[in-house]
Structure formats: C-alpha cells, structure tokens
Symmetry: D2
Subunit: 270 residues, 4 copies
C-alpha cells in the first residue's frame, strides 16, 4: 500500500539505549523525574522546550479549568462503558475521550483556529485588528459557521472561568496579540451577528495558551489530557459505587419508541 | 433492562449552579484555577483531598517517569490511526490508550495488587513480612502467574527509573509499608522463582504511590494520564511530519503470508 | 522493546499482487464478490473454509438474534458520542463496541468457555456428562463465579431467542455435543445452585455455534459484528433525529451529588 | 447542560416487552431469527424495510469486496492492541475501527457525497448530466479537494473490484442514475484534472448502494461492518499466532530519531 506522501522517516521526541532514556534531549531519569512537574513535562513533550514559569502556570490553569464539569456526556459514556466492561479501564477512558469531539470540547481548538485566521488576515492586509476581525467573522457567517469560543448555554451573563484565565494571562505577562484578538472579537460580534456574546472558557483557553507559545495544532490535547484526569476520578468512583446502569435506565426512560409494531403488541419493557 | 445491583444514585465529584462550579467541595474558579497545579488537581479529583507537597511530588515523578518511552506500540497505533483518520484527534488518542492493557502499562496496577495481597496476608496472619511475601509469591507461581513489577526486557541489571522513584519516596518521607513489601519481594524472589529480578518502574510506581496514599483502584489512571500527554506530543509531530504509513509499511514488511493461494498466483504487493 | 515471545512472523488470511486479491486462498473478485453472502464471507475469514448451508444458517441466526435490543448502554454510548463528535462516525461505533465487555455481551464467550471446560472434564475423566457438568459447575460456585448463559433479568420463564436457536441447531442437523452439554447444565443447575435457571440467548449462541464448528476464540466476534450493524442503524437515526443529548440529560437527571460544597452553595444546574 | 436543539425524544428501531422483541416492526424471534440472513437484517435495521433480492445481493457484494485487504493499518493497529491488551477483544476491534477515517475507508462515503452533489446540481439546473458533473468537479478542484472514488495507488489500469460491483449493479437491474453519474465522472475527469482516472472500489460501492436504495448517511457503515469481520478473523489468528509485537518492532525499525541528545549518548535500543 502507498497512501499519502511520507518520506521523512524520523521522530524527535524520545530515544534510548539500555542505560539512558532521552526525552526531548534530556536524560529522563537524571534530569526530569523528581525534578519537574507533570505540567512541565507535558509542555516539554509537546513543544520540545521546558516552559518558563508563566508558561507553566498558564498550562496548569487551563488544564484545571476544564478537567471536570459534572455528569457531562463523556463522563456518562465512560462510566456506562466501565459498568459493562469492567475488565478494561482503558476502554472506558477511551470511550469517554471519543466524545471530546467538535461539538463538545472541540470548541477550544476551533476558537484557536478562528484567532489564527484573524491574525493572518490582519498580517496579510495590514488592516486594523477590528477590520480584520470583522472580515473573518463575516466570512464565518456567510459560511453559516458558528463563532466558536463565545456564548454559553449556562453562564449567560459572563463566564467566570474565561475571566479568570484572561486575568491570569495578564498577571503572568503572557497576554499578547491573541488576547487582543479575543477582546476584539467580543467587541465586533454584536455588529456581525446582531447580539452580544461574551467569551467563554473555550475561547479563553486558546487565547491564553497561544499567547504563551503553546502550539495551535496541539490545542485539543489540553481538553483531552484534562478530561482523562476527570475520567480516571469518575471511574474510581464507578468501581466503588456504580451508577453506570442507573444512568442507562435514566437515559432510556426519556426516549419513546415511535416505530411500527405487530398487531396487539404492548410495549412495557421494564 | 436490569443489569447488576446499583441502588446508590449518587456522585460526589462535581456539582454546579449557573454561578459556581464546585469540584470536590472547592469553588473551581475562585479556589483552584490559577492557584493549584494540574497534578494537584488530579490528586484532588481522584482522592477528594488536595495533596501534601510530598504527595504531589510523588505523583509528579511517577507521571513524568512513564509518560514517554519512544516508538512503543501505543504510540505507533495512535500515529497510524491519525494518518488514516486525521479528522478525529480524539480517536487517535483513544486508539493509543486502548493498548494500555494488561501486557503493557498494566503491570503497575498488577504490581499494586500484588503488594496489597501481601499486605493483607501479613495482616491476617500476623506473620513476618518475608513469610507473608513468600506465601503470596508461591501462590502466584502455583497459579502460573507472572510476578508483576520485577524484571525488565531491556534494563537487565537495574532499572534507573525504579531506583529514582524509590529514592524519592524515601527523601520525601512518604516511604512506608509498601516500600518494605517491594524490597521484600525482591529479596524473596530468588528463592521462589530461582533467579534474581530487580524491581522495575512498574513495581516502583505502585510502591511509591500507595505509600503516598494514592488509591489502588486508580493506579491504572497514572499510566493512562501520562501516556495521553505522550500521545498528544506524538500526534502534534504526526500532523507536521507524518510517519504513520511509513511505520505501517515497515510493519507489513516483516510479516509473510503463509496461507493458500490459487495456482499460478505470485505475491508481490508493494 | 522485546515483549512476549513472538517468533512466527506469518499471517494466513490475505495476500495480493497488483492484479489479484487472495482471501483465504480464493480470488476475491473472481470467486467471492457477487457469489457469496457476507455471512459466508465472515465464516470464510474466521475459519479459513467456506461454510456448509447449515453452518451459514446457524451463523446468520445467531447474528440476527443479538444485533438489536433497543436502547441498551452500548447504543446510548454510541449515540451520545456521535452527538458530541459528529465528525467521526467510526468513533461513535468504537465507543459503542467498547461496552461489549464481560458484563454485557461477553456472556456468550463465557458460556462457550464453560461448555468447553465441561467437555474437557468429561473427556479427561471419561465420566458421564452429568457428572462432569456437576464437577465444573461446583468449581464455578467454589470460585464464586456466575454461571454464564443461564437466567435472564427480563424473560423469567423462558428465553424465546434461546429456544429458537436451539431448535435451529436441531433442524439443521448441526446439534451435537455442545447441545447435550447445554441441556445438561440446565438439568444439573438446580442441584448446584438451589434454583432452576433456563438457558438464555448468551448460552444458546455458543451452544449452536460450537456445534456448527465455529471457533471458541472468535465467539465474541459474533456479538461485536452483530452490534456493529445495530450501531450503524442507530447512528443513521441519530444523524436525522438526534437524541444523544436528550439521553444525557435523562441520565444526569437520575443522579444526585452527595459530596461537599462551599457554605451557601445551592445546586440547580439546568 | 443544554447542547444543540433536540426536541424529538423518539427512536424507531426496536421495542420490546417481556415476551416479544420488535425490530423495525417485526417480531424478532418469530419472523426474523432463522428466517433471514444477517445481510437482510442489516438492511432492515438500517432502512426499516426488508431488502429485495437485488438489494440484498448488492449489499452482500459490497461488504464482501472491502472486508479484507491484508496487513493494512487498521489490521496492524488492532493486532498490536490485542497483543498489548489481550483482556479486551472489543478494545482491539475498536482501535482498528478508529482508523477507518477520512483517508482510509472514508472514500466510499466521500464518493457518495460527490455523486449526490452532482445529482442535486443536475436536478436544480436541469442541465445535462455531463455539464452538471463538470460544474461539481471544477468546484472540487477550486477548493483543492481530491476527487474521491477514482484512481488507486495499486491497481493503476483498472480496479477489478469496482468493475465487478458495477457489473453486478447492471445484472441485478439496480443500476440507475448513480451508475450514470459515476460513469460520467470518469468521462469528464480528464478534461477537469488533466489525466484519466478509473473508478475504484470506493467509487463503485456508493454507486451501486445508492442505486439500490441504501441511504447516503449510512454509507460509512458498510466499510465499518465489513472491516469488523476482518478484524475478528485477524484477532482470532493473533490469539493463536501473535505478530503484534513483531509488527511493532518492524515499524520502529524504519523510523530514526533526529532530535537532540545529551553529549556522549549513543542510541542503540534493541
């Protein structure tokens, strides 16, 4: 099989010999284990460089902000899967992560791409940021795409998590062009879509991470990593106090069958 | 459907109202985001309590120690999956985690269960630790089960990661009964299996985590969380410099077909 | 890395050259596509031989019998996952299959192993089948293992799917030693466990498949393949009339939070 | 949580009471098990109607044509996952399916969408089919999108599987407007892209299925279902003659590390 052009058979993340494991150029045992935090290691793995203190604080804050939000679909999926297949905790985690898609948790990545498009529009046209922002937002509207990272079904007036992250970007001195873009989107939005929408946590996460130098193409890794921690916690509880099938009955109980049935059939599954 | 007895319809991890998200009793935005590290949050999510500094350092060290080990099967699986399905990064992460099973990365959990069995044997019989250890190890042998957490295919003489973690358990003052058990297993093993095997990283991880108060039933969460970080790093590289199909050809190239074929058929797929 | 002993680098399922794809010794295009049914192809792929008509009918019947059973956990998981990640239908199918574990749908495989153990007990001791069955059932009881394939939460008196499959085994002439074992288990059970339990569909599936010559180690493939068809049907409906988040709210609505909260916090997520 | 508008809490696939399971309006036990083939059941589940003989033959042929193609990435992923996590066959199947994405196996669905766009273009403009086809193909080119379903890396001159399926569409009398569109694309392509490309199996599958009345939004279900059968066969072989880690070593062996390393480090992992 020959699929796609791939002619660079290299990786640059880890190598080893029988004595030493080298991760991103560092001796894992001598220099990293016991010396750096997991968050620093995550930054190192992803970017190839150890983070500065502000970079580390931003990554910590974004991971903490979205790790856990109660009985969301991915948690339900994961706990129901463990109840059905207790022999494979990794399967329950995987099932939960599979729901970290474009509708849920994907908004961070989408908002990051929006900010990047605005930045590129601004750079290529040398227009003012507000003008570049309006061009991109109107393009989204013309293509009937939602504006990711703004508005929230629950926290109508403001999103406290977003405010906290943005404030941290400022206090750590990492805030930069993406913070400017994110604010500009909030300002321009009412003109473009006819109503005001405040930045939510999915907008704030790429805003502060991109300003801190975290790579756009790994943005989705942040909710995935954060959510893995949440799933492990829920799966520990599920092993001790299982609710997987209780939730399944709750879910089934709100759905009715409206298809055909044989004459005389009376549904009463219970 | 009624499957299993589940009559406790509760969870105790997170609740919220439109203003506040409460995680393990703490106001997420006010008290946690920007204030604690991700590792502290992981410990809080899983145990319900914020960690002490030694607990946090132990969890950090174990996560750092096993996050990355080069082109292992789970990384290959994940990168091959992204090359085939680039629209779903979460699918590539999930595929990689599905290989964190009993043979690979499951040894940490298995070693933790071994230590726990030895502890329970010792407690229930009031025997000396060495005697209790020998009883349990001989039971494993009788059941033809491998002794998890000892020996390593690569690092024959010693496992530097294990030594580093055990030393950290001692220097942080968390080392306790599990460290004693782990050492005792190493001492007793030659008598039981006829050769010496040193503790490896999969033995050291449960040893130091259990001593620090991390729950046994969440042990597998440590390699799963650590490996998620590694997968995100590899998937970023895969997007920039894809090797998924190169590895697939490499894998196919070492396997031959030895089944039947029609008369005159000459295989030469390439 | 060297994990496990693997020194036979062969596969015997498929080979090809630029003109011909050979599957289990047959020219795929010339001999199979358009000529055989999918069920015949499944049997060929798994066993290496085209099935007889009775074998094909048994495999068809078992697949049909367990493909669909309403809003079971795996279907809920799959539809919730698609609602959250509509970009990856394969992810939603995978999430659904991850719940085909030991508690749900795994019973077919477990029952097959039970029957096999009884057969081996009978062969190795030359005892009567009833005696061999009792030995194995008592061993299960001593190990506190459930007897897989018997009893059903819903269909208390009898399981019509099981009866239908067993009758088909007889009418196709495939019924043999496994049918005898399955009946014997039903007869011996009351003595061993103190109450009567009838064979359910998870017992009938391995009974008829093993008698037909289907391999024990691929038994789980039957529910997995059948359930994939069900998931595809549900995911088509989910795209047209989504209920994923409705089910999620239904599931969340039956679970209460019983953990700590800050003073004055009033939960009212909605 | 309120995500998306979902206000139709119904499903129409299956209902049951303690005596009867109803699938798409039919009594499962009385009318389907033992009476219809699995392929007929798949069609029933997906479309709500039992298939005609030509419909069933088309679905059988497409499933048989793409179930198996040797050591492709999804098979490698699945076998490597089982070697690492033998406790969860469902996890290995899920991992394999996660690679059935847009690059591999997704082309069938993409080609179906292409054909549908051409049909809608033709209907809305009342243009000749060739003109409508050219409009859509030129739009794809302007958007720098590949033309799915045409060309093949291996079978350069012709794709025998595609020819066989198209011929079956004609011989069963199901061939219709999609066959016309598929042929027209082949005719128009040289003018639009500057070279001739023949229809491949990913083009032929939606061509014959859509003509037979199979729904566009379930097209991806065909490769997913077919591939599940292949994975089960490979996983049976993997249990008996494991090659998972052999393939992993083969894959690792073709990738080199080109990142930094500490002074004096000599890589020689093996």
């Amino acid at each position: 099989m020959k699929i796609g052009k791939q002619n660079s058979p290299f990786q640059s993340i880890c190598t080893s010999n029988p004595d030493t494991i080298v991760v991103r150029g560092h001796d894992l045992v001598e220099d990293l284990v016991g010396s750096i935090s997991f968050t620093e290691h995550v930054w190192l793995l992803i970017t190839g460089q150890l983070p500065t203190v502000p970079q580390r604080r931003i990554l910590d804050a974004t991971l903490v902000s979205i790790a856990e939000h109660g009985m969301v679909p991915s948690v339900q999926v994961s706990r129901m899967t463990l109840a059905a297949a207790p022999e494979a905790l990794q399967g329950a985690v995987a099932a939960g992560l599979l729901g970290c898609g474009s509708v849920i948790l994907g908004a961070s990545e989408d908002a990051g791409r929006l900010f990047q498009e605005i930045l590129e529009e601004q750079k290529s046209t040398s227009a003012a940021m507000a003008a570049a922002t309006e061009v991109v937002l109107r393009r989204y509207r013309a293509e009937k795409r939602a504006i990711p990272g703004y508005g929230h079904p629950l926290h109508k007036g403001r999103d406290p998590r977003a405010e906290k992250l943005v404030a941290l970007g400022e206090s750590t001195g990492t805030a930069g062009v993406y913070a400017e873009i994110a604010r500009t989107v909030e300002t321009v939005l009412p003109d473009v879509i006819g109503k005001a929408l405040v930045m939510n946590v999915s907008g704030a996460i790429p805003c502060v991470l991109l300003d801190a130098g975290y790579p756009l193409l790994a943005l989705k890794g942040v909710p995935l990593l954060a959510r893995t921690a949440s799933l492990v916690a829920h799966l520990l509880e599920e092993q001790q106090r299982s609710i997987g099938f209780i939730m399944s009955r709750g879910a089934a109980g709100v759905i009715e069958y409206d298809g055909p049935a044989p004459d005389g059939f009376v549904a009463n599954e219970n």
